[in-house]
């Protein structure tokens, strides 16, 4: 995937990004750069990362997602990861990777409800 090709949508005061490709190597770094730049530009209150399209999340990708949430937090933006599939949840827990400290929701609607609107 080329730089800047991950669609970032504005939903109210929040940003919604839908991940459908493997977040490996250079793609992961571009993903983080693009997201953090969008947060700076828009002053988004919250960030939703939708991973419904990922049938596999290995420890590397899980770490990229968790790190991205931490980076956004440092900038003052809360992140909710939504749409972790049943088999992905089962696999991560069996591996011992529970993504503690990362907020999650079942779907985009639930995730949006967890994010406060910017005053």
């Amino acid at each position: 995937m080329a730089r800047g090709s991950i669609p970032i949508l504005r939903v109210g005061d929040n940003l919604l990004v839908t991940v459908q490709t493997d977040l490996h190597d250079a793609v992961a770094e571009a993903f983080q750069e693009d997201l953090l730049a969008a947060i700076e530009k828009t002053g988004a209150a919250g960030l939703l990362i939708d991973v419904t399209g990922l049938d596999i999340v290995d420890s590397y990708v899980a770490r990229v997602l968790a790190d991205t949430a931490k980076m956004a937090r440092l900038m003052g933006t809360d992140t909710v990861i939504v749409g972790i599939r049943p088999e992905v949840a089962a696999t991560l827990v069996r591996m011992g990777y529970t993504m503690s400290g990362v907020r999650t929701a079942l779907n985009v609607d639930d995730g949006l409800a967890m994010l406060p609107a910017r005053r």
């Binding site: 190597d25 049938d55 420890s59 591996m95 011992g96 990777y97």
Partner: protein, 138 residues
């Protein structure tokens, strides 16, 4: 092992793209063997972790993805080989956790928990061979 080998793909593991190729092949074979959704995800994730270990810790190598059968059971067997530095402290690496040698700990220990059979042969200075099997449920 007296497992019947129904198909075998030998794949290089020398680039990031190779990791994805091995993972996709493991996923396709697991699905074709009739493994359930959770089992497919488990073995595909193990393939990703182990291929990444081969690439980063083993300095590259190769992998085999095989469709196997034993006593009527269908399964997937994955073998990863490298001629890298080997693993000096295997028990520590297998204990896993995030405090051990970066991703190697989680990659090995996590993969072990995701499969039905796990075998590792490592010699410091010579390399490492990891073989795992995931079976379909009866």
């Amino acid at each position: 092992m007296s497992d019947q080998v129904l198909s075998r793909d030998d794949l290089p593991v020398t680039t990031e793209g190779d990791v994805v190729t091995v993972r996709r092949r493991a996923q396709a074979v697991a699905q074709a063997r009739g493994l359930g959704t959770f089992a497919v995800a488990a073995v595909t994730t193990a393939a990703s972790e182990l291929a990444r270990n081969t690439l980063t810790h083993g300095r590259g190598g190769d992998a085999s993805v095989e469709a196997v059968a034993r006593d009527g059971r269908q399964g997937v067997r994955l073998t990863f080989r490298d001629q890298g530095p080997g693993i000096a402290d295997l028990s520590r690496a297998l204990a896993g956790g995030f405090s051990t040698a970066r991703s190697l700990g989680l990659g090995l220990s996590g993969s072990r928990r995701l499969v039905d059979e796990f075998d590792i042969d490592t010699t410091p200075g010579k390399g490492t061979v990891v073989t795992v099997i995931k079976w379909a449920r009866f």
